[in-house]
């Protein structure tokens, strides 16, 4: 509960004002009682009423009402603001954690599920700190004030009118539990409906082909029936709960009417006290009703809170450690060294082997192509370079330094990575291309308070190298065109070219292209590659590819199969050898001949 500690002053002062609200508000019935008593005494005596006294009572009520109003506003604002501030902090901290967690962690969660879970949990936490806290404090305060006032009027009547309260509180507890359980049950039925609908939509081809329309409609209707049943079970609780809450006040009223009435007639209390007492018991009704609800919400909130704290406490598997080199000790050309894989192995969590005993050197400034069948381990191999995950066994070095000793962000900032999946963000094309550059500028501004110097390459160069200029000029808004749902939908090839420009603009020491040109036609692929290799002169480049037309341009070709290096050499050497590589090349040439 460290957040309560952080904002304790808000909660504490909010509670003080809550007490003030109760005290001021609950002084009103006493004035009301006094006024009634004045009137009764006057009418019994047949004397004129002291209108001045009545007038001052009325003004006192107004003053109390205004005071209570101000106190109520302040108390609610303080406590609810604190709840919102906590929500704000939790969100920021959570997001921070999420940016540090490694891809392997994300793979263990299912994305859609993760996001909606977080959104839902943060909501529950907000309600926990705002609504729930306010209600619990309010209930405690109201009870204390009301009870002491009631006792001061008549202890006997107080005990009598409180008699049903244990039962009421217990019943409320049962009600809210039943309400929670049945709401949950109804929600599960609703998710059945979703599943049915989802399947009917996703499997529409099968549904049509086998003429299942009627069957599936019947199933949907049956699921709907079950949902109706669950909802009607819920309606029983809801239907009883709300009138029950409404009658809490009335039951108190009845007791006071009967018992209190007899006391008035027996002259052990006055009529004014009777009226005053009625108002007190009314004031208890809502806090009593809200108590059960606040407790349920509290339970749900703490469960959500625990889940969120669990994420906050998770340590990323890939992170800087104690033996990480100080950034100052890194030379400018720290990454312009040969990269060596020494007996590298990678095993997935389910036990399947992605890479086995890979030993490989990427000479500084060379271009290496990695080829092989789907699932051969090509992407896994290059992902190790940027430490998206660390190898299970073996070491990767840049120069003499193991990859794990470089500061993580420095390492990644030196690598231009074009991932297989051309993921873009829903911003303008310009911002997507400048994604890494903007991050660099941002960090530099934070550290030095000044803008970082522009890189060797300009935006125009990057777009030209990636062959984006033509596509960009075809959009009305050019580089400012928004990508994604609210903007244009780029074709697969266009997206890939944006991701290439994004990597190139960083002017990286190491460039990784993970099957980055698969949606680009052969002709463009070749020209893009040629340009890339020109600007990458003197830097190390690794490219994963399924096409072989341009591979005579690279320095070495590595053939992977089932996670192992099976062939290695130049394009021409491997062709001459007539092995796996030569067969793949031949097959592709045939394919091209066919689809031409």
């Amino acid at each position: 509960m460290r957040y309560f500690g952080r904002y304790w002053i808000w909660f504490a002062s909010g509670s003080v004002f809550l007490v003030a609200t109760s005290v001021l508000g609950l002084m009103i019935p006493r004035q009301l009682g006094a006024a009634v008593e004045l009137l009764r005494v006057a009418s019994e005596a047949g004397a004129p009423v002291d209108m001045a006294a009545i007038g001052s009572l009325a003004w006192l009520v107004v003053a109390l009402a205004v005071g209570a109003c101000v106190a109520r506003i302040v108390s609610r604002v303080l406590i609810f603001y604190a709840g919102r501030l906590i929500e704000y902090d939790v969100r920021n901290e959570l997001f921070g954690s999420l940016t540090r967690l490694d891809p392997a962690w994300y793979q263990r969660q299912s994305t859609g599920d993760l996001t909606s879970r977080i959104i839902n949990d943060v909501n529950n936490v907000r309600v926990l700190y705002g609504f729930s806290t306010l209600n619990l404090v309010n209930t405690a305060v109201t009870y204390t004030v009301v009870l002491s006032l009631m006792f001061s009027v008549s202890p006997r009547l107080t005990w009598l009118s409180l008699a049903p309260y244990p039962i009421i509180i217990l019943t409320m507890r049962l009600f809210t539990r039943a309400l929670y359980l049945r709401t949950h049950a109804a929600q599960e039925r609703l998710s059945d409906i979703s599943t049915h609908a989802q399947e009917a939509i996703a499997g529409v081809a099968v549904v049509r082909a086998f003429g299942m329309e009627r069957v599936i409609s019947e199933r949907f209707r049956a699921a709907g029936d079950r949902y109706v049943d669950a909802n009607l079970r819920l309606a029983v609780v809801r239907g009883a709960l709300f009138p029950f809450v409404a009658s809490i006040g009335s039951i108190g009223g009845l007791i006071i009417l009967y018992a209190g009435g007899r006391m008035v007639i027996g002259a052990s209390i006055t009529l004014g006290e009777f009226v005053e007492f009625s108002a007190y018991i009314t004031a208890l009704a809502w806090p009593t009703a809200g108590l059960g609800w606040a407790l349920t919400v509290w339970q749900r909130g703490t469960a959500s809170f625990d889940r969120l704290m669990h994420i906050l406490a998770t340590r990323p598997a890939v992170a800087d450690g104690e033996d990480t080199l100080a950034p100052a000790r890194l030379h400018d050309d720290a990454f312009r060294q040969p990269v060596t894989f020494e007996d590298v192995g990678l095993v997935w969590e389910d036990g399947t082997e992605a890479l086995r005993g890979v030993t490989l050197t990427l000479p500084a400034g060379s271009v290496t192509a990695v080829v092989g069948r789907t699932g051969a381990g090509k992407s896994s191999l290059v992902s190790l370079l940027a430490r998206l995950r660390d190898p299970t066994s073996g070491v990767i070095r840049v120069g003499d330094v193991p990859l794990t000793r470089f500061p993580l962000r420095r390492l990644r900032a030196s690598i231009g990575y074009v991932p297989q999946d051309p993921l873009l963000f829903s911003r303008s094309i310009r911002e997507n291309i400048r994604f890494g550059e903007l991050a660099r500028q941002h960090d530099a501004r934070g550290e030095n308070g000044e803008r970082a110097g522009a890189g060797r390459l300009r935006l125009e160069d990057a777009t030209r190298i990636a062959h984006l200029d033509e596509a960009v000029t075809s959009f009305a808004d050019g580089l400012e065109t928004l990508v994604g749902e609210r903007g244009v939908t780029l074709s697969g090839g266009q997206k890939q070219r944006v991701t290439i420009a994004r990597a190139v603009l960083l002017d990286p020491d190491i460039l990784v292209l993970d099957d980055a040109l698969s949606s680009v036609d052969t002709e463009t692929e070749r020209t893009i590659l040629e340009e890339l290799l020109t600007i990458m002169e003197g830097r190390t480049t690794v490219l994963v590819t399924h096409r072989f037309n341009a591979l005579h341009l690279v320095d070495q070709v590595v053939v992977l199969d089932e996670g192992q290096v099976v062939e290695q050499g130049t394009h021409h050497e491997l062709l001459a050898r007539g092995g796996v590589y030569a067969q793949m090349v031949e097959r592709q040439q045939l394919e091209e001949a066919l689809s031409a």
Partner: protein, 605 residues
């Protein structure tokens, strides 16, 4: 060509394009009328609920009057006789109110839930009749929203607002009448507060709604930033963009915080001021009532009763605008649902469509042209025949139009030029259901439904019995798989068959096709890589499936192709060659190249 044309089949209707924002298509009256039509079958419970409304109001308003009587007839004169009766009546009103309110909620829900289930089913059924192309245009998520959130919004309005709003109006008018009867002058003084209350509520509701809207927008941005960041976290980390993403998130979060603050502020003010106005009304009643009572115009009991009534007056006024907003939300949802219901991209079927149960002669593609969009032809002038009992293999590179061809045969789409004939009759003349029953289709990605193995083979067809399932299972050797799972045909299938291997899923789909005893089998061979053992299993299954079975096979493997009687080679949407394996190999054309490619692949792997 009896009115089959490209325009009616493939252009989305104008109305559909308004779908994204989509409001304002219907007038409120029409909307209400069409919604009420769904309530009609459940009118009796609804009428019952309506009857309880004035009763509930009456009972609840009787209570202050009872207090008044108690004060005037018993407390002031200190008269105990008959006081017990008043207490009993009071108890009666409490119990009565409780029961009636319960009945009211229950009856409303009964009618509302059932009506909404009908509406939901109607939308679902309608979707079952829409063309396949509709589903390709509309993302699953959006259609799901219609069936869940939109229906729920209406449900929410029904269970919380609509009916009680009538009750509120009854209560309010009753209080006005009662107060005027008890004391016209004091009533008017009390009502003087109402405009103030109304104005305060309206003002703060307006401010609240604005703040709420801003906080919703900020929250939506916050959540979509989160969603996008989680999806693209690898890229963010690769480009060392974490700091900047965090700052962006913090900035949106701060906007959200600010709007949330103003929401909290207005909400606190609304709540507190309504309470304050309530207390001030009491002061007003005391002050003015005291004067009235000294002039003997009202009794003390009336004065106390007035205070009670005034409090009952406040709650409905406070809640009215809230309920109105809920109703508006429901109307927007209702509109989106009705729009979906009014889509009429159905598969055309003649009124006097012909029945068909058997394939006698064969299938003929006669000069078939087809395009998904405008004039981008996927198939051009395709003509060939599949005789009864014949097995035809469709061969060609990716995108040659092979899958489109069988989609046309089962009328997932309709041809744009030319015709497909079965036994000499255009397939568009047959009943769609009958036509589809002739075929069994095995698609590349074997879609499985949640349920068990049996239901996935039967697919709801009552004519498929267990014996048939077992025979089909043994032909494709699914029985070996069944033996591995102790519960056999009752084996549970999780969503999308995720608890079966890809190979097992294929076999289930094979069994499914055979169990329906198709006249024509359509097999779209999977291209995906599976391990060699499963591959052998599937090959063997295909071999046995094709024995004495009229089939159209979209084939990728040479072994499958060779098992067919005739081969049709498609190239860029045109028919390039056809003939037997030997004939085509001798021609040395496209097929010859494909076969060489196939062997190269086999060698490479």
């Amino acid at each position: 060509m009896r009115g089959y044309n490209a325009a009616s089949a493939n252009t989305p209707r104008k109305r559909g394009q308004a779908d994204a924002d989509g409001l304002g298509t219907y007038r409120d009256g029409e909307l209400a009328r069409r919604l009420l039509a769904y309530l009609r079958p459940y009118r009796w419970p609804l009428i019952g609920a309506l009857v309880t409304l004035p009763l509930v109001s009456g009972l609840s308003l009787l209570q202050p009057h009872l207090i008044q009587v108690a004060i005037d007839n018993h407390f002031v004169p200190r008269q105990l006789d008959g006081f017990g009766v008043i207490a009993l009546v009071f108890l009666g009103t409490i119990v009565g109110e409780f029961c009636l309110r319960f009945a009211q909620t229950w009856l409303t829900q009964l009618a509302g839930e059932r009506a909404l289930r009908d509406l939901r089913s109607a939308v679902f059924d309608h979707m079952q009749r829409l063309r396949v192309s509709f589903f390709q245009r509309n993302p699953t998520g959006r259609l799901m929203t219609r069936l869940t959130s939109d229906v729920d919004a209406i449900q929410e309005a029904i269970s919380s607002g609509v009916v009680t709003i009538i009750g509120d109006v009854i209560t309010l008018s009753a209080i006005v009448v009662i107060l005027l009867l008890k004391s016209p002058t004091l009533a008017l003084v009390t009502f003087a507060v109402v405009p103030v209350l109304w104005a305060v509520t309206a003002l703060f509701r307006y401010l609240l709604r604005e703040a709420y809207r801003r906080s919703r927008t900020a929250l939506a941005r916050l959540n979509s930033h989160l969603q996008e960041s989680v999806t693209g976290m690898t890229v963010i980390q690769l480009f060392a963009h974490e700091e900047r993403s965090r700052d962006e998130y913090r900035r949106i979060n701060r906007d959200y915080l600010r709007s949330a603050f103003s929401f909290v502020r207005w909400d606190a003010m609304l709540y507190a001021m309504v309470e304050m106005i309530g207390s001030i009304t009491i002061a007003l009643i005391i002050w003015y009532g005291a004067g009235e009572s000294t002039r003997d115009l009202i009794t003390l009991g009336v004065l106390v009763a007035f205070i009670e009534y005034a409090q009952k007056f406040f709650v409905p006024i406070r809640d009215l605008s809230q309920k109105y907003a809920t109703i508006q939300g429901a109307m927007a949802s209702a509109e989106r649902l009705l729009q979906l219901l009014d889509r009429d991209e159905l598969i055309p079927e003649d009124d006097d469509a012909l029945p068909i149960t058997e394939l006698r002669d064969g299938i003929e593609f006669r000069g078939v042209w087809f395009a998904y969009h405008d004039e981008q032809w996927v198939l051009r002038d395709i003509s060939f025949r599949i005789g009864a009992g014949e097995r035809v293999a469709l061969v060609g590179h990716t995108g040659a139009g092979k899958s489109t061809l069988h989609g046309l045969l089962t009328r997932m789409y309709d041809v744009q030029r030319g015709a497909i004939l079965i036994d000499g009759v255009d397939i568009r003349r047959y009943r769609v259901a009958d036509l589809r029953r002739l075929f069994a289709v095995v698609l590349q990605d074997g879609f499985l439904f949640t349920g068990d193995l049996r239901s996935n083979v039967v697919l709801g067809d009552p004519t498929v019995d267990d014996a048939q399932i077992r025979r089909a299972a043994s032909i494709v050797e699914l029985d070996r798989v069944l033996d591995r799972h102790p519960d056999g045909l009752d084996h549970r299938i999780r969503e999308r068959g995720s608890n079966l291997s890809a190979g097992e899923r294929q076999l289930v789909c094979f069994a499914r096709a055979l169990a329906h005893r198709p006249r024509i089998l359509i097999l779209d061979e999977a291209t995906a890589n599976i391990d060699t053992e499963t591959e052998a299993l599937i090959q063997a299954a295909i071999e046995r499936m094709l024995v004495r079975q009229t089939s159209l096979v979209v084939a990728h493997r040479l072994s499958t192709i060779q098992r067919c009687d005739r081969i049709v080679v498609l190239h860029h949407g045109e028919l390039a060659e056809q003939g037997t394996h030997q004939e085509l190999m001798q021609q040395g054309g496209l097929y010859h190249k494909l076969v060489r490619l196939q062997y190269a692949t086999v060698a490479a792997e």
